[in-house]
Symmetry: C2
Subunit: 186 residues, 2 copies
């Protein structure tokens, strides 16, 4: 189907979802932020489960901070790693939603592009209520492009999204016992 | 299958392939480079079909240059865009292979991570001979991690690779007539 004139002229404001089991969801969101920065757009990166201090001072976070991209995190680790309680995860996600709510209401400068890294995992695990998140999306400022990453994006989010990429794991060296490597996987 | 002790300790040196029709192949390679840079690794980015001057001075290229990441390109545009002849494409790809050959032979400092952006398209279109590229891979220095991006990765490359992600286009706003937008798609 050919789009309307309005669609053709639309710039920004889409909801993008990167999901699936394969490698490349977070890095793709970061690459999109880097590209947007290189075009002078205003970007932000929010993570839901990657915020322990060691992690946040290295790797992609270090470079994004160096580039002046605001980065923020709401939960230190996924509870599965055993260092964060379920309650801490739930409270952190709640704070994240509150932050989005105030951003969407225009209480803070609205960026052109905002990555919500691992938000799909928060939704899939029930740390964020699907219904609440979808209602929140309806308040999203028109020109804000949003990227939601993580495995297990719920159908309700896929239905709302303008673009959905699913990264399939065709072949992965973890299957051969290779462990996660700093600089390569995190 | 559990891997051997050797597998478990292996760091770097893998061949990664990002292919498929969905959005996120190049940006994922760029994100991986950004992450590696943030861990103090040595990275390089080579593009096969994204080198016209306007493009190379903006977006991801601008940010990578700012970060001191060596970027290089071998063909200005894909011949399909009508600004590059088939001969220019073939010659450019040949130069790219020569460059890789000399890098793999140790005639230049070997990085930890090298992205070959759109090399799959060069292989798929016959601009680079599959057999020649696969032979070249056998010369790859052990610690060099290589990312090959682009649609249409050939089976021979998939067979050689350690990790293959296929990005499926579940839903895409191009289908609704939205055109490519600077800062978002390029």
């Amino acid at each position: 189907m050919e789009g309307s004139e309005e669609d053709r002229e639309r710039v920004g404001g889409n909801v993008l979802v990167h999901t699936g089991e394969g490698k490349g969801k977070t890095t793709s969101a970061v690459g999109q932020i880097i590209r947007a920065e290189g075009h002078g757009l205003n970007t932000r990166y929010i993570s839901f489960f990657k915020g322990n201090e060691e992690r946040f001072s290295r790797g992609i976070f270090k470079v994004m901070k160096k580039l002046g991209i605001p980065v923020r995190n709401f939960v230190h680790d996924h509870p599965d790693f055993g260092r964060t309680s379920e309650e801490e995860a739930r409270n952190g996600c709640r704070k994240g939603l509150k932050y989005l709510n105030s951003l969407f209401r225009g209480e803070d400068e609205v960026p052109d592009l905002l990555a919500l890294d691992e938000v799909n995992i928060a939704l899939d695990g029930g740390w964020i209520e699907e219904e609440e998140f979808i209602s929140l999306l309806e308040m999203k400022p028109d020109n804000l492009e949003l990227i939601c990453t993580g495995r297990g994006a719920p159908e309700s989010l896929i239905a709302e999204a303008d673009l959905v990429s699913r990264i399939e794991n065709v072949k992965h060296f973890y299957d051969e016992g290779v462990v996660q490597r700093p600089g390569y996987e995190y």
